[in-house]
Symmetry: C2
Subunit: 336 residues, 2 copies
């Protein structure tokens, strides 16, 4: 009694061990109320036959999949660039899921059809819970998932009205620390390169920049990028054209800051003497730019970990805090 793939079934193991299917099932699932001796016999049979439970059959009856989906809906340009966000989140999530013996199913959508496929897949009972790693605009997915009563945790505050539990970093605190530092060190014309304004991280960092400047009565000088280096380089050119006398720039991601640094070098501006630059992220690269980048550190891997922990809690019916905010920290290097 083996499957088409040649794998032995519960039935086969039971026969070999001279017990019923039910007993083998209990042993395999670690039920305590099986006689020692029989347990040993079953275990031996399992071992000898290389038995592995068929997950589909198990899922069909238990209604559990032991899988968690991690959803990225993102354009090529960002995933493709060496943005640290994606691998960082994936890494954190996979660590926690690995410990919990859950499977990580990665769902990526690069198109509308892909979006629909993701909705079908997640609401189709393939996974026990969903992690949404990045959202653009008022993504309808979270609400759709909530309607199906699927446990969902978002990375970053969802922009849609639906209130779902999420994990985020203290964007405002980080940006405020950066701007205050610039102010304290005597910078007078502080510009910013903002992130995409359809993403909450982009929106919140820009808002925090504005608020921090308002307090100090400096005027804001803004260009918008999309978190890639190329966009940072272009935004810096625009900023320099808009205000040739700017003496500082807060950049909403390290990658964009890297692009801005190149533009500044090409324009003959010295960093930090002429222009101070502060990034956001503190990816490894920040230590290797010229000059090394002063930046706001956000704990991306930790964010992935917390998201995974929260969804696991939800899956097992425990309550979770609706909002988890992780600390950010200004890391001083040489660029400001």
């Amino acid at each position: 009694m083996t499957t088409a793939g040649g794998r032995p079934t519960l039935e086969a193991v039971a026969r070999r061990a001279g017990v019923s299917r039910a007993t083998v099932s209990r042993v395999v699932n670690g039920s305590p109320k099986v006689a020692e001796e029989i347990q040993a016999r079953v275990r031996r049979a399992v071992e000898e036959m290389g038995y592995v439970p068929n997950q589909a059959a198990r899922t069909l009856v238990t209604q559990r999949t032991d899988s968690i989906a991690l959803v990225f809906t993102e354009q090529a340009n960002r995933v493709f660039s060496d943005d640290q966000y994606f691998p960082g989140i994936i890494f954190g999530v996979s660590q926690v899921l690995e410990d919990a013996d859950k499977q990580l199913v990665l769902l990526m959508a690069h198109s509308d059809a892909g979006h629909e496929r993701i909705e079908r897949y997640t609401t189709g009972g393939h996974v026990d819970g969903v992690l949404i790693a990045s959202m653009h605009g008022a993504d309808p997915l979270p609400a759709a998932l909530a309607r199906h009563r699927l446990p969902v945790i978002c990375g970053g505050r969802p922009l849609a009205r639906a209130s779902l539990p999420y994990v985020d970093v203290d964007q405002t605190g980080g940006v405020t620390a950066a701007i205050r530092y610039l102010l304290r060190s005597g910078r007078r014309r502080i510009a910013t390169i903002a992130g995409p304004q359809d993403m909450v991280a982009g929106i919140e960092r820009l808002a925090a920049y504005r608020t921090a400047l308002d307090d100090s009565d400096r005027r804001s000088i803004v260009a918008v990028g999309d978190f890639t280096r190329a966009s940072g380089a272009a935004a810096m050119r625009q900023l320099l054209a808009d205000d040739p006398h700017l003496d500082a720039v807060f950049v909403a991601s390290d990658l964009m800051a890297h692009g801005a640094l190149r533009t500044l070098r090409e324009a003959g501006r010295r960093v930090p003497e002429d222009v101070a630059v502060i990034g956001f992220d503190d990816i490894e690269m920040a230590q290797f730019t010229d000059p090394p980048l002063t930046t706001v550190r956000q704990p991306i891997v930790e964010m992935g970990r917390r998201m995974a922990e929260q969804v696991l809690r939800l899956v097992s019916g425990e309550p979770v805090e609706p909002v988890v905010v992780l600390d950010t920290e200004l890391i001083r290097r040489d660029s400001a």
Copy 2:
């Protein structure tokens, strides 16, 4: 007739449409031999009830999962750094799988227990095929999978004796082009920072460097890194200590080259005047280093795509070429 999760079943749809389960199943699966009118009736019922087939039930009978596993067995330091390899492969694979309506299941192992879990999972009938993205040493996983007759495609030539189909880039061609270029431009002491010597990419790039130098009768000067920036910076320091007069260095990855660039700057060496630097990868960052990096471009996303295409072919019973090698190309910028 709905499931515990509240989702409607085939049975429920059939009842509503006034037909049998078999007929609904045929319509849902696109069987052509169902009367037009009945098809319409069924489709409407499906629509109205928001029916989505239960994948577990389907898998149980068809023995297909419509999922493909992508396996990474890697230390934290590499996944965690902003290495382009992982997201690039994931991106390429996910594009192809998305088009084929297959699911990407990401399997990561950071520990021995994780390794075992992956073997259990993949051989346990959860996926139709496996992609192994990076291997260290003579990883036993490929052989284990082959034993279970699971379709497997490797990224890079497997080091273990087992001969499995793989997709790779033309490592030797790329390295040779780099070294010859250095030679032609009159460099006399050409060092290398090699990748980890338990990975085939590390091994082959070093071997190609040696061969190319042998031909020219220059002696080799070698330091070994692990593909991270920090290791590149350290290796460069060692190289400078070993041979203060070196005038060129071929670095086996762009990230390590970035680290090497910083060390050279700290040591007061000008690039390319004093020391020419050539990297390998051509990730986005290479355009933004100071100076912009001359490097060997390898098509990582394309490699992911090809791996996915191959495994899909295997899954559907078609034959595949045992070896696919993608071209590499020397990209000239300012560092050499």
